[in-house]
Symmetry: C2
Subunit: 189 residues, 2 copies
């Protein structure tokens, strides 16, 4: 993995950065149009680059998805950190789950990334760790306050939120709030 620029630890050369931005833009457009498939050939053509270039920057469809999701993932981590520090634990749990649902709804790529346990990019692993740390702090407080079932782990919460998102998708009617209320009630100690 030493030759791929996809981890963007180094400031890409200007032309490379431009090309990369074009690919991400093309991919984002596809996702926005409701196509999570992200065919590499199609992305390449839409971005006006050769297929090999797409593969060089994103060795995997998963890597491309993660790059797309990174921005919203970062927002979610920030909200988790706020929630972990917020005053009213129960309210913070509710706020965070609602935010997670909302972010997944706005960015299907994020929903896919959260549901996939093995991240392809280092950046995604870092985000996942930061998220887990913040949620763990929140859970600890919630447990101490007797506000949540003591057996719930960070990973349970991740799975349950992904499931809730799926439930909202399956039901045509956008009834996030009711389903969220059901989950919150079910999580109570």
């Amino acid at each position: 993995m030493g030759t791929t620029p996809s981890t963007d630890t180094e400031p890409l050369r200007a032309d490379s950065a431009r090309v990369r931005a074009r690919m991400l833009q093309a991919a984002r457009k596809r996702v926005a149009d409701g196509d999570l498939e992200l065919p590499m050939n199609a992305v390449a053509k839409a971005a006006g680059v050769g297929v090999g270039t797409v593969y060089r920057h994103f060795p995997t469809r998963q890597a491309l998805l993660e790059a797309l999701a990174a921005e919203r993932y970062t927002l979610l981590v920030a909200e988790a950190e706020q929630a972990a520090a917020g005053p009213d634990v129960a309210a913070e749990v509710a706020r965070l789950l609602r935010a997670a649902l909302e972010h997944q709804r706005c960015d299907p790529a994020l929903a896919a990334v959260l549901a996939e346990p093995d991240a392809a990019r280092q950046e995604t692993r870092d985000l996942g760790q930061a998220l887990a740390a913040a949620v763990d702090r929140l859970l600890e407080r919630a447990r101490a306050a007797g506000e949540i079932r003591p057996d719930i782990t960070v990973d349970d919460l991740r799975a349950l939120v992904c499931g809730l998102q799926h439930a909202v998708t399956v039901s045509g009617d956008a009834t996030d709030d009711r389903y969220l209320a059901i989950l919150l009630r079910g999580l109570r100690a």
Copy 2:
């Protein structure tokens, strides 16, 4: 839809039935091997028939999936009808949801079919209607007994069970029972 034999209302000619069975067997093998993609060409080759024959019997990947899921779907409907008639409403709701989870876990094709609102085959629509009718009777009783949130509809329950199944899948650990308990608690009036 007048020329397709896929609705099996008429007793297929013997050779046609044989060919059909071979295709279903090949498809089932793929699903059992964890591949829900069901490439028509691959199914055809595995079944030793021409691609056109697969398309004739199953005009769509969705139709093929539904044919695969029909058997377990039928079992699920039977359990729903038992549950609707059972003595202890709360226990029947729990039993039914547990059964739905279990059937989805055993047959990924069923999970896909339950999550898809628009059925491709008439048989699937019939099963869906029978299931909805039974679940509705159960819900009516549960509401009357004050055992469930009164706003929960049959479609909510379908979505929530699909979501729960997804949560179990996302979490590597097979923790169905805990997640089921959370949902049941959340559903209480």
